[in-house]
Structure formats: structure tokens, C-alpha cells
Amino acid sequence: MATLAVAAEKEEREDGREPRTFLVAGVLVVALVVALVASVCLGSTRVPVGDVWSAVVRGVTGDDLAPGTHDLIVWRLRVPRALLAALVGAGLGLVGTATQALVRNPLADPYLLGISSGASLGAVAAIVLGVGAGGAFGLGLSAAAFAGALASFALVWAMARRGGGFSPLRLVLAGVGIGQFLSGFTHYLVLQAGDDQQTHGVLFWLMGSLGGAQWSTLTAPLVAVGLGLAALLARARALDALLMGDETAAGLGVDVGRLRRELFVVTSVLTGVLVSVSGAIGFVGLMVPHVCRMVVGGAHRRLLPIAALFGAVLLVVVDLVARTALPDQELPVGVVTALIGAPTLLYLLDRRLERG
């Protein structure tokens, strides 16, 4: 480990990215604050800034909310929703980064490992088969999504481990195969739902939405993202080594098999928690690590926090667009991430190629 640490630090000094990382982090923090403020101030209902402010003050100080509707909208809907967007975005950024290191493949995200598919299947099954559709305000659904994520994780794990050890290729193939199988099953269930409105309830889980946000739904993702970040940061050096190949990593003293297991558990649990509160939001986990790597380089000690921050900013903005882009209609977040995210990623890739 010591040699690795020295090597990584040397690399950092050489490419001079340490100070730049702080700058980027600073910019992202400012952007996050701006995005959160905008997200709380804007929406389909016009709420005067003064009312927004007083609602937030009343909310923060624990005063009774004014009986009108503005307080409800600002404090019970917009603030938790903006915060949930930030948390989920941060979580997706982390999960994407970890998964890409885990399978040593820049195309990886939770979808690739079949985890999102499992979570969606769990939720959709609960809706179509009519379990806990409303009950304790959708707690049954979140639990089903989480259970689905863990079950698919166990399946992929079992498949990938047959024949001993984790090879990145086995993991990816098992993930893709099982993910496809589960998606097929989900689509079958969607057809069973068969009517427009119920299908819409299902769409929430397939395309993702932050519409279910309330204060009480923030705890689980807050804890999960916090622990996830800590767990991944503690393994930042090992992650760097893993990207150089299993042999190199082993040569540097990393227990590759064990590291993969740990990463797999962390990403699965984190993904399960995220999907259970926001549905399967695609693309963020894939795109965020790429963009961040272009800016701050591949060392995970820097990459992980920056990816979390950037993911947070991105999803807050995306959710704001999803809520306000169309008059009297709300878009699924997944639609917006794909429509805005994909061209952005392509543009950045293109520019990077030009610069060589």
C-alpha cells in the first residue's frame, strides 16, 4: 500500500491537479447552492420570492406553517424534492464511479450490473400485483424496489462467482444477462397493467422521478450516500490500482477479489436505496464520472467527491427542468437526463478528442 500511496501522490504533484480540484469543488458547491435555490423558487406554481423565503424560515425554525398553500408547496414539496435530487444525484455519481472501476469499463453504470432492473421489477411487481400501492404512502413500494435490487444483486453475484473469483467480464455478462431477463419480466407486467393510468404509475419506476420526495424520504439516501462516500474514499487508492489491471493491483498489495466484493455490496445497496426513493434514473451514473474524469483526472481520491458534487448539481437542475419545461405536465427525470445529458457528454467527448 505504501508504494501505491507514494506513486499516486507523485502523480498528483506531477499533473498539478490538486489545486485545480479544490477550484472545481468550489465552483460545484456554488453551483449546487444556486441550483437548490432556483429549484425551491421555481415550479409550475408561481410563488413570490418573499413567500419562498418566509416559508423556508418558518420551516427551518420549526414555526407553524401558514395555512395558505404556498408554505405547503415550498416547505413540504420543493425543499425536500430539491434535497432529494441532490442526494440521489450524488449517489448516482458515486455508484457510477465505483461501478466503472469495479468492472474496469467506462461504459458501466448500475444498469449494467442489472441492479436497476431488479429494483424496477420489484416496484412494478408491487404495483401491478397490487401490493402496498398506497398503504403507508408507498413505503411498500420502496421496500419492494429495494428487495428487487438486492435479489438481482444476489443473482448476479452467484452467477459471476461460479467458477471462482470475479472477473470483470463475467460480472458484466452476468449483469447484462440477468438485467435483460428482469426487464423482460417487467415489461410483461407492464402489459398486464394494461391501462393507461396504471401504466403511468409504473413509468415512475422505469423512468425515474423525484415526485415522491418528502422530508421523511431523505433519511435513507442521506445515510446511504454518506456511508457510501466514506466507504469508497477509504478504498480510493485500491480503486486507482484496480484500474491498472488485476495483476498490477495484486502486485501493489490489493486483495482484488475482496475489493470487488466490497465494491459490489456498496454499489448494490446504494443503488437499491436510490431506486427505492426515485425510481431508476438512467444516464447520470454513466455520464457524471466521465465528465469529472476529464476535469480532475482519474485518481479516485479526487474523483469520488467531485463526482458526488457534480451528480448533485446535475440532478437538481435536471429535476427543475423536468418540473417546469412543459406547461401543466411533469416529465420523468429519465427523459430529461437522456435529452440533456447525452448531447452534453458527446460534446465534451468531442472536444476532448480534438484537444487530443
Binding site: 415550479g43 409550475s44 406554481t45 406553517l65 395555512p67 398553500t69 405547503l72 408547496i73 413540504r76 414539496l77 420543493r78 404495483i127 400501492a133 398506497g134 398503504g135 403507508a136 404512502f137 408507498g138 402489459l191 398486464q192 397493467a193 394494461g194 391501462d195 393507461d196 393510468q197 396504471q198 401504466t199 403511468h200 404509475g201 409504473v202 415512475f204 422521478s209 415526485g211 415522491g212 418528502q214 422530508w215 421523511s216 425510481g279 418540473r323 401543466d328 405536465q329 411533469e330
Partner: protein, 356 residues
């Protein structure tokens, strides 16, 4: 080409077979119609139009009718054409049709629990298919709907209940039941039961006119605002009933102001923020029939519990004062003879002193 041709041949054979076998029954039918004062074969040929204006002509009453769902099925039962129903999709659950039709409805062959599979529909030997919701996006997406050519090859005339099937394409808001009434009249003409249709429509008019008279002194802006809560469409993102949907007409006639009356279309996913901003006076807990009184009661209670525990809605005026209407989704959002009863029921709750 080949499979399609086969379908045509099979359907044609089936049709001939039933036409021959059903000869005796036909006479009886014609006699019955004569007895009930129907126009029998006299009113033919009859032409009807679909949503886009394309014409379908009938030279005589159909002998075998397949309905897309329980709404069309129920209308035929009301019209006294129940003995000609050869099958249905979306079958009525227990207790979904009025008691006097329960036995007859239970005998109708179920061709599909949701959408009728294409081969089954084309091979059903029907000469007319009555479609209530063909414009629904996801049903087309299912890839299971026969094309106009296939219908033609199978000898099936495809007609629509325009009040629901064409809702999204309507140019102006629906504020009265005329769309439903003309569906009933048209179905009466097609099935040779015009006299019965006229009776049904007259009866509906009597009910709605009564309500209208009773409410004529209540000015537009004094009418309570009304939110139809489509519980089964999911609670993460509410589904608005917009002004082209039949329910908008039912609510308006019942003396309420649909809070989403300014939204053009049939259904649209909105955000909770939009509902909270409207702060409705009354909320209809529109749940779908669960197949029994006890189960329905439970579903209504679940919907109410959700609104009472969801932080953004629990302090709304209607929720705090318990102003809920427990009226099923079908009776409000699907065209039927009972739409007029729903109008009365709503009017009674909203204006108890004027409508008993």
C-alpha cells in the same frame, strides 16, 4: 403477408359458420326488437364515423359483437343487445355492472383480461368490434392492435365510443354529457335498438336537466373546486383529469369546477405542487373497482389515508375538513348510462341543499 391472409381466411370461415348456425337465433332477435319498438332492419343502412372522420356503414344490425372493455359491454346490456355480445376484453369485475345485468355480464366470454390479443380478436367471428379506448397510447404501443386492413380482411367493422376513444383529439373541452349520449344513440342505430337508446338518453337527460335546473342560480365562480384523485395511477405523481375527458363533463354537470379544467387533453401527469396550489374544495377518491364492496371500501380508505398522511396534502382544506367523495373511477371516467347518476351524486354532495 401470409399470416395476415390466413387470419382473413380463418375469420371468414368462422364468420360464415356462425352466420349459418345463428340463423334461427336471428329471427328470434328480430322479433324481439320489433316487440320492443325498435326500428329493426328499417333504419339501415347506418353510417358512423371514427375519430378521424372515416366512415363505416352497416347494412343491417351486427349479429356478433365484441367489446374492448366493460364500458362498451355495459352499454350494450343497457340497450338490450346483450345476447349478441360474443366476447370482451377488460371484463367487468364482480359488482362492476349494475345488479340487473350481473348474470348476463358474467356469461360473456372473456377474450382477454386486458387488451384482447390480436389473433383472438380477428378470429372471434365478430362482425363488429366496439372500441372504447383505442386512442390510448400504450395500447397501440402493445403492438397487438389489428390494422384497419386486418379488421377488413376478418370482416370486422371497427367502431369507437367517441366520447372516450377520441377524447385526446377533441378540439374543445367537454362540459356536458352530449358526447356520451351520442355514443349511446349511435350504438342504438348500429345495433338496431334506437328506440331503447332514445329511452336511455331521455332518462339521462331527465337526471342531468334536473341537476342543472337545481343549480342554475349558483354562479360559475361560486361552484366548489373539485379534484379527481386517480389513486390507482400512482401517488408519486398525480394524474390530472383534463378538460377533454368525460369526467370533466361529469364534474361540471355535477356543479363542480374541475381544478384541471384549464388543461387540454384527457389525462396528464402533473406534480403534487399543482394540486396543492389549486387547494380544491372537494376531492373525489376515484379508485377502480376491486371486485367487491368490502375491497372497494378498503381501497377508498387507503386513498383517503394517503391524502391525510402525505405532508403536502394533509393540510389542504378538503382533506382537513374531510370533504371526500367515494365515487369509483369507472363511473366517472368511462362513458356510460350511469354517468348521469354520477352527476347527481356529485351534485348532491357539493350542493346538498339544492340537490337531494
Amino acid at each position: 403477408m401470409r399470416p395476415r391472409a390466413w387470419c382473413g381466411v380463418l375469420a371468414a370461415v368462422a364468420l360464415t359458420a356462425t352466420a349459418c348456425g345463428g340463423g334461427g337465433g336471428n329471427d328470434g332477435e328480430a322479433g324481439k326488437e320489433g316487440a320492443s319498438g325498435g326500428s329493426g332492419g328499417k333504419g339501415f343502412p347506418v353510417s358512423v364515423q371514427d375519430c378521424s372522420g372515416a366512415k363505416t356503414t352497416f347494412d343491417g344490425p351486427p349479429k356478433k359483437i365484441v367489446t374492448s372493455n366493460a364500458a362498451a359491454l355495459e352499454l350494450l346490456l343497457w340497450l338490450g343487445a346483450g345476447d349478441r355480445i360474443a366476447g370482451t376484453g377488460f371484463p367487468p369485475g364482480k359488482g362492476a355492472v349494475p345488479r340487473q345485468f350481473a348474470d348476463q355480464a358474467a356469461k360473456v366470454p372473456v377474450l382477454g383480461k386486458t387488451v384482447i390479443p390480436k389473433e383472438k380478436l380477428l378470429g372471434s367471428g365478430a362482425d363488429v368490434y366496439i372500441d372504447s379506448f383505442s386512442s390510448m397510447k400504450n395500447m397501440r404501443g402493445a403492438g397487438d392492435a389489428p390494422t384497419p386492413e386486418e379488421f377488413k380482411a376478418a370482416g370486422i367493422k371497427h367502431i369507437f365510443l367517441k366520447s372516450t376513444a377520441c377524447a385526446a383529439m377533441n378540439k374543445s373541452p367537454r362540459t356536458d354529457l352530449s358526447g356520451i349520449e351520442s355514443d349511446i344513440e349511435e350504438l342504438g342505430r348500429v345495433t338496431g335498438t334506437s328506440a331503447r337508446a332514445a329511452e336511455l338518453v331521455a332518462d339521462m337527460r331527465k337526471k342531468t336537466d334536473g341537476v342543472r335546473d337545481a343549480l342554475k342560480d349558483v354562479p360559475e365562480d361560486k361552484r366548489p373546486s373539485y379534484f379527481l384523485f386517480d389513486f390507482d395511477a400512482g401517488t408519486k405523481q398525480p394524474m390530472a383529469v383534463c378538460n377533454r375527458q368525460v369526467a370533466n363533463a361529469v364534474i361540471t354537470q355535477g356543479g363542480g369546477r374541475n381544478v384541471f379544467a384549464d388543461c387540454d387533453g384527457d389525462f396528464k401527469p402533473v406534480g403534487w405542487e399543482d394540486v396543492v396550489a389549486k387547494n380544491p374544495d372537494f376531492i373525489q377518491l376515484a379508485v377502480r373497482n376491486r371486485g367487491g364492496e368490502e375491497a372497494n371500501r378498503k381501497a377508498f380508505a387507503e386513498a383517503e389515508d394517503f391524502l391525510k398522511s402525505f405532508p403536502a396534502t394533509k393540510d389542504l382544506k378538503a382533506v382537513k375538513e374531510g370533504r371526500f367523495l367515494r365515487i369509483g373511477s369507472e363511473r366517472t371516467t368511462i362513458a356510460g348510462v350511469r354517468s348521469a347518476d354520477t352527476v347527481r351524486e356529485i351534485a348532491h354532495v357539493l350542493h346538498p341543499d339544492k340537490v337531494k
